[in-house]
Subunit: 233 residues, 6 copies
Amino acid sequence: MYINAMNWSQVEEHIKKDDRCIFPLGCIEQHAHLSLGTDMILSEKIAMDAAEPLGIPVFPAMPYGLTAGFVDFPGTISLRIRTYIAFIEDILDGLYHSGFRRILIVNGHGGNAPAGVVISEWMNRNRDASVKMYDWWRAPKTMAKVLEIDSRASHASWMENFPWTRLEGVVQPQHVKDCVDLNGLARVDAGRKRERLGDGCCHGLYERPDTDMLAIWEIAVEETRAQLENDWH
Amino acid sequence: MYINAMNWSQVEEHIKKDDRCIFPLGCIEQHAHLSLGTDMILSEKIAMDAAEPLGIPVFPAMPYGLTAGFVDFPGTISLRIRTYIAFIEDILDGLYHSGFRRILIVNGHGGNAPAGVVISEWMNRNRDASVKMYDWWRAPKTMAKVLEIDSRASHASWMENFPWTRLEGVVQPQHVKDCVDLNGLARVDAGRKRERLGDGCCHGLYERPDTDMLAIWEIAVEETRAQLENDWH
Amino acid sequence: MYINAMNWSQVEEHIKKDDRCIFPLGCIEQHAHLSLGTDMILSEKIAMDAAEPLGIPVFPAMPYGLTAGFVDFPGTISLRIRTYIAFIEDILDGLYHSGFRRILIVNGHGGNAPAGVVISEWMNRNRDASVKMYDWWRAPKTMAKVLEIDSRASHASWMENFPWTRLEGVVQPQHVKDCVDLNGLARVDAGRKRERLGDGCCHGLYERPDTDMLAIWEIAVEETRAQLENDWH
Amino acid sequence: MYINAMNWSQVEEHIKKDDRCIFPLGCIEQHAHLSLGTDMILSEKIAMDAAEPLGIPVFPAMPYGLTAGFVDFPGTISLRIRTYIAFIEDILDGLYHSGFRRILIVNGHGGNAPAGVVISEWMNRNRDASVKMYDWWRAPKTMAKVLEIDSRASHASWMENFPWTRLEGVVQPQHVKDCVDLNGLARVDAGRKRERLGDGCCHGLYERPDTDMLAIWEIAVEETRAQLENDWH
Amino acid sequence: MYINAMNWSQVEEHIKKDDRCIFPLGCIEQHAHLSLGTDMILSEKIAMDAAEPLGIPVFPAMPYGLTAGFVDFPGTISLRIRTYIAFIEDILDGLYHSGFRRILIVNGHGGNAPAGVVISEWMNRNRDASVKMYDWWRAPKTMAKVLEIDSRASHASWMENFPWTRLEGVVQPQHVKDCVDLNGLARVDAGRKRERLGDGCCHGLYERPDTDMLAIWEIAVEETRAQLENDWH
Amino acid sequence: MYINAMNWSQVEEHIKKDDRCIFPLGCIEQHAHLSLGTDMILSEKIAMDAAEPLGIPVFPAMPYGLTAGFVDFPGTISLRIRTYIAFIEDILDGLYHSGFRRILIVNGHGGNAPAGVVISEWMNRNRDASVKMYDWWRAPKTMAKVLEIDSRASHASWMENFPWTRLEGVVQPQHVKDCVDLNGLARVDAGRKRERLGDGCCHGLYERPDTDMLAIWEIAVEETRAQLENDWH
């Protein structure tokens, strides 16, 4: 249940019975021809869809994340890592203070990975909590489905092109983009990264039929929901 | 235009013609019987409604803000001030790096006021930019309309009860809440604050007719839009 | 009692009987033709005068505060907000460790307002303490007296021109300064602020008879003393 | 060439001809029956062996890294992530100020991965530099060799048991350890992690013949050296 | 000239002719039977007396410093070192922005020594400035005079007992205090330090005739003045 | 015993009987014609030699320290003081969490002195621990021996020229370097410092017979060992 659809006394009542919640992590960064908010949109929606039948509160996605490499693409906003770790600490402290003890962080952006280190540090100070850092798009079953459909998949390619991340009136390229040299991106600044990336997509087709996309989504929702239901502590 | 409805090359094109953008600040905190997301919902919506005819990009609202005083109401999440100032710095750096030079920060939560200090420091390092910290709900015309309707108005009272912040199935109290002692709240911790605040509302009725609310909204949208159109630099 | 007139064992004895103390906040910043130390001088003196008959310890004023907007006026020193919040935290920790539980922060500079957020956070970690952030010059009775005398009053105008803030040999302008556009100051850097502010005064006459000033001071001392005597916890 | 075998004027001369250097990252953490310094020993030695014929300066390994998850195993020292990112920034600033522009960071510990984010941020401020974050043990050829020998390999298993990381007088277990549940480790604090990990090894045999180990080492040295020789900028 | 006796335009005029200023560092900490403000009082007064005939601006002393070791003596306030270094950076930035290029930091408290490291870092970023960290009481001639009078001298002993640091009505002990074991203090927390220190004095008599004290002061003023006059850059 | 020669369970066993350990602090900085790693080499070796007969664990030296003044000599790496204090805090927290309660910090570099302030703060939070900051080269007996041999001794002079810090193939100058003006170094940036320092040595001969050096070393080892054996808490 979206936290914005609750008031504080409803949350208080809920926690008495169930100490689970979800916190989605997004990023506002270039996704080639797709929405700048792709990672935020997907992490929040997968969280909502997974939580819906369970009634677990879903906090608003953190829109902004770590994406220093893409800041030369306008519209991309990167937090400094020192800011981000402070933010993650505060969120965990706040959820804990509210009474939550089992927290699923649904992450929509690979670059946010240092949050996992913060979680590890934080749990040492809050030893009765359990926190999962969950990259929904590369969970085993979800990624297996992606690869089954088309292994040429990457950042900003078809695998992120859902009905809710594509933009009205924007026509996607029809070719298969060659795989960019990922090591060549990692060792240089955002300027050279932009030059080497062109439109921002890393590899593959830019769109596939919605039957493919919805099949992936269905698996991803189930796999995320299983994280809520099983294997805490 | 919501940034999530744009891709990076659209932003790049836009900035060539117009270097304005909007960044809304919210807060997830107790609002008595209303949504925990009230401040986030209102700041993002007022920004969207004001920007719409102008085509100015609106970045996703920062959901989380400064609300240490309310953390004993479950569901309330407060960032530490040190985290928040780092966050505001990063956002301004990111918007500037993208090319924006006139930035309207539409703030929906009084507690976020230290952002104004950060802006002041930041502009000294970026002297060709102009940044407005704009508390939409207490802009002169908007507040005058509120007071004209009913001066017994406060945090979590009728003046924040819009069709988009009230919750389905939640019945609002029908009495006028006496004004709490605000100084008595300020000098104590969150525990004593909660005791003294009861349901979380500070003063006044809990709801008023939508004709009142929409009249306020209309004025607020116009007043916010005027901020976008006039008096930069 | 000024802390510099005490030694540690006297403080230890005092706290056994009374856990109150005062900490004044100042700022070294342009005050047009008045002393750069105006805010420090006034906050420390009002604290001393208010505390005197009560024997409550007054710690030395923190001379430096938050004034990023005025740094292009030479002699103005602004701390970064991140430094300032760390400083306020340390002072509160130190006073608490000494044994003080009721702390009156007498603030002489509007720009120091983020200290209030730090206090709010700090009290959540020290729930048996009570801390008041008190802007002496805009307390209700004091401000009422100012407005009664002359409502054209502002930063660096007559209302800050006391016998202890004016400078020997400096002649004050004799005209009424028109009110500067405060919104126009807030949205720009310190350079444009200085251009728009001229001599640094915001509005009003530069001096008034000492009978006016001493009448204000008397009320302010009483109103500050009442803060020490009443309404803790 | 080890930097400890050079003086400052030799470094100055060297940089005039070659702006490459190596900085190894280690960690002091439990490695089951192996040395607590395993990651430091291996990253520094692989760096030295790779650099030797090229005469490239190798700075002393940073012994300490990010290992919050293992702190309940005595002897393990974990830096906070906020400290670590500051450290990495300082080292890069220092190497750059000395004149180095091509920097190979040879990392010996998976948990140090956030250094990669710091590098990405840092290169945006130093756009004429190129920095590689290189996890020597999972470089493609090295890892292929490991898996070819025995795919049951993990933290503190045989794959880290080199002549220079094993301890005199310590007898290694002779069985194959079952694979621990890595997700089950990630979601809990260091106390539960220790309970679930037993001796600290994650999976596999504890030792294999030195012919295997030296074959891996030889490939790893060559693969690391290739990083020094090729594909900068 | 005390900065509180100047306004901004006077500072602006002054800097056009002379880019020197003084910034005194104090500390509020136990000084046995003497004022808690001893270090602040002495550093500000020595600065004022030295600067007086030269007309060099003296900024208000920073009252608070680093004294973690004495916090178990009530009235002692210690800043964290991380706060203090940020504070020193900000002050230097502020003085530099005002136009000062030769800055004498007159330090009254040995524990503030890390300021010297901050100065060293800061000068690398501001290479046209010259900053002296000057411990007035242990400058060669001043300390020689102290030792000539009575070599049994220490923190809170007679050597800090000036007419302006002793307290009305407080009778000083008349014996010579044996020297405490300074290494024994350094290796333990503030609680054990207090136990071992008794009244807080480290060694020696508690008072000497004012002829001695004024002789020391005269030398110290001259020696401090020489720092202002000679050997910049 | 070098910690790299132990595994975690050996440390655990050791702490049950003896809660002492050693942590050496070094610095990578210019030492004229000697190794850039001189301070790291000496602090780690003196720690190892002192601890050897006692079986006390020696953690790997922190190679990097505070040396802002020498950064214009290539190969010198200086951490920012803010980073360094965070590092020292983390190390102490880590050693404490492992179970150590008596910690000898063997420091090889004068510039690292702010670590002492961090220790003082840290012990207030960990009041059952005892931590010594020990500058081995200026301990009383060691320094007396140095001065007995040749009082013209300084940074990078003969007194740091041991068989394990001198470099193969580097011929040392044969003259006595005049004493540089140390105050003249302290008040300027790293650029002017380099100009004034020439080769980096401050005063004295560059080498002396090994009989002298080994006599110093023998005394230093014994004096350091006595720190381990005596006077804790």
